[in-house]
């Protein structure tokens, strides 16, 4: 990963002039490089990381394991594509290990997610079994500490 991508993946809020200063490159060059990353699909988007524990209208997320029978022609891709099409599904990963696909599914309530799994996911042709794990609390997400405790606190003291 280039330094520019690393900086943006840590904080996409840096301005062009800040990025240019940090990298020691002209602003125009940085701007052009970002455009290129966007055009090539290397940068897919910019999102805020939200700590949902602070929200009143919270939601529930679950990790769903799927065991599936791969299709002869398309392997896992076809089933993955079907899963991706649901708005409820936030993420889809192909896994190595005891199951095949892992999904992050979001809903208003646990009941919503349970119904979604039962009615939409387990009925997909080729899905052999599902396992649902509700996420209880997020401690760290995409490299960021979401808690009040832990390593973010500056414990250094001034000695001189």
């Amino acid at each position: 990963m280039t330094k520019l991508l690393k900086l943006l993946s840590e904080n996409s809020n840096f301005s062009i002039s800040e990025l240019a200063a940090m990298l020691g490159e002209p602003e125009e060059a940085v701007k052009a490089q970002i455009k290129e990353y966007e055009n090539k699909g290397i940068i897919r988007g910019y999102q805020a990381i939200i700590n949902c524990d602070y929200l009143d209208d919270s939601f529930v997320e679950a990790l769903i394991e799927l065991k599936v029978t791969p299709k002869k022609e398309t392997g896992f891709d076809e089933i993955a594509e079907m899963c991706m099409a649901f708005d409820e599904v936030e993420s889809v990963y192909l896994m190595a290990g005891v199951y095949d696909l892992a999904l992050i599914v979001r809903g208003q309530t646990m009941q919503d997610i349970a119904m979604f799994v039962a009615k939409k996911l387990s009925t997909i042709e080729g899905v052999l079994s599902t396992g649902t794990h509700f996420i209880m609390r997020r401690y760290k997400d995409r490299g960021l500490n979401l808690t009040e405790f832990g390593s973010d606190k500056d414990e250094r003291s001034l000695i001189l």
Partner: protein, 393 residues
């Protein structure tokens, strides 16, 4: 009531407490303060180094080390100076492991300075040199480095400060608080004067791994004719983010190191054992960590320097340590006023430049030993502060 002042040594009573403290204490009592005042790495000691310390404890290695330090560590220190700065020090006679670089500075003063000897100390500089020199019986003679020289020490200023009583020159580069470095040609000019006047140099190289813009640190000991008249002070705090381990060292001519060792032996006995085991690992396998941290600091340095210049607080490009030293004279405030108002109005803590000597007036020290996000937030607040100053709020 006992009047303790009549018991207490008058030299120590006349020392002023450090001026860095004040704003830190205010900051500590406020909520949501963004501090840019800390002068130590924000990184934790790399894990493999910590692990060696832990392992030594698990093995029960909890005894004193030899007075000079473990032979393995002395050897690694010697290897390191050879590898990085092409200087050869005999580990058994020319090296001493101390409790931080600061102990080594203290030992050097006390081993060399005779009552009334003058010690030339360039300022702005770290706050310990003057007091330690005084407590050793010496007379600190401060000379100023200047913004227009990028805060490098000039040979003519050194020459002008020398008297028949001058014995020693302190060379604190890369510099805290200015971030200035000395390059080879600067050192060659200084060396000429030092040799002509037969002085000893105490070269505090604690920030030697933190230089930027492809400029490697040059030790004055490697300048022609200087090896025999230089005491090098270094340590693990800044290079390896090991401040809390309290480990430093001195390198130099055997007769000087031998006297320093005597003092160390009686006053301290030996440096912490656990820390020494960790430090051996740092010197053996820590180069990658040093490079990584340097790259991170460099990115922060560029961001901070660029932002200050953009805000109109001009600031020369510091090529060492992790400080920038912007000039705040354009605001019409003194350093103290600037820092007080900045912390009261915007809850950002920086250190007034005059805490590092009178010539630091008109400047502030900003540490960039903080995460990029932290720095970005602090810089935004400083920008707001300057905007409000301009509008006369």
């Amino acid at each position: 009531m006992i009047d303790y002042s009549k018991y207490l040594n008058s030299s120590i009573q006349s020392l002023r407490p450090s001026g860095i403290r004040k704003f830190f204490d205010i900051a500590n009592e406020m909520d949501h303060v963004i501090s840019l005042s800390i002068g130590e790495p924000d990184f934790q000691t790399p894990w493999h180094i910590r692990d060696e310390g832990i392992r030594s404890l698990e093995k029960g290695r909890t005894w004193y080390s030899p007075n000079r330090g473990f032979a393995d560590l002395l050897q690694e220190i010697s290897n390191y100076y050879k590898r990085r700065f092409s200087l050869t020090y005999e580990p058994t006679t020319q090296a001493l492991v101390t409790v931080g670089g600061s102990e080594a500075i203290d030992l050097a003063f006390r081993s060399l300075v005779e009552k009334g000897d003058e010690v030339i100390i360039p300022q702005p500089a770290f706050v310990c040199y003057n007091p330690l020199c005084i407590m050793a019986g010496g007379v600190p003679v401060n000379i100023n480095t200047r913004n227009e020289d990028n805060f490098r020490l000039r040979a003519c200023d050194l020459e002008a400060a020398i008297t028949p009583k001058t014995k020693m020159l302190v060379l604190p580069f890369p510099n805290n608080p200015t971030g200035a470095i000395m390059e080879r040609k600067d050192l060659e000019e200084i060396a000429e004067v030092v040799k002509r006047h037969d002085l000893i140099v105490l070269s505090d190289e604690i920030y030697c791994e933190l230089t930027y813009g492809d400029r490697n640190h040059v030790s004055i000991a490697s300048i022609d004719g200087m090896y025999d008249r230089t005491i090098v002070i270094n340590g693990f705090s800044k290079s390896y983010a090991m401040t809390g381990w309290r480990l430093g060292y001195a390198l130099g001519p055997a007769p000087i190191i031998s006297e320093m060792t005597k003092l160390h032996q009686y006053g301290i006995m030996s440096a912490p054992t656990t820390a020494q085991y960790a430090a051996i690992e740092a010197l053996k396998n820590g180069d990658r960590d040093v490079n990584h941290m340097r790259d991170e600091y460099d990115m922060r340095r560029r961001l901070v320097v660029d932002s200050f210049n953009d805000m109109g607080l001009t600031c020369f490009e510091p090529l060492g340590a992790f400080y920038v030293f912007p000039c705040i004279k354009s605001t019409g405030l003194t350093s103290e006023e600037f820092c007080t108002r900045l912390i009261m109005e915007k809850h950002v803590a920086v250190v007034p430049g005059n805490a590092f000597g009178d010539c630091g007036e008109g400047f502030v020290r900003v540490s960039y030993s903080y995460s990029l996000n932290h720095l970005k937030a602090a810089l935004e607040r400083i920008r707001e502060f300057l905007g409000e100053l301009k509008n006369g709020d």
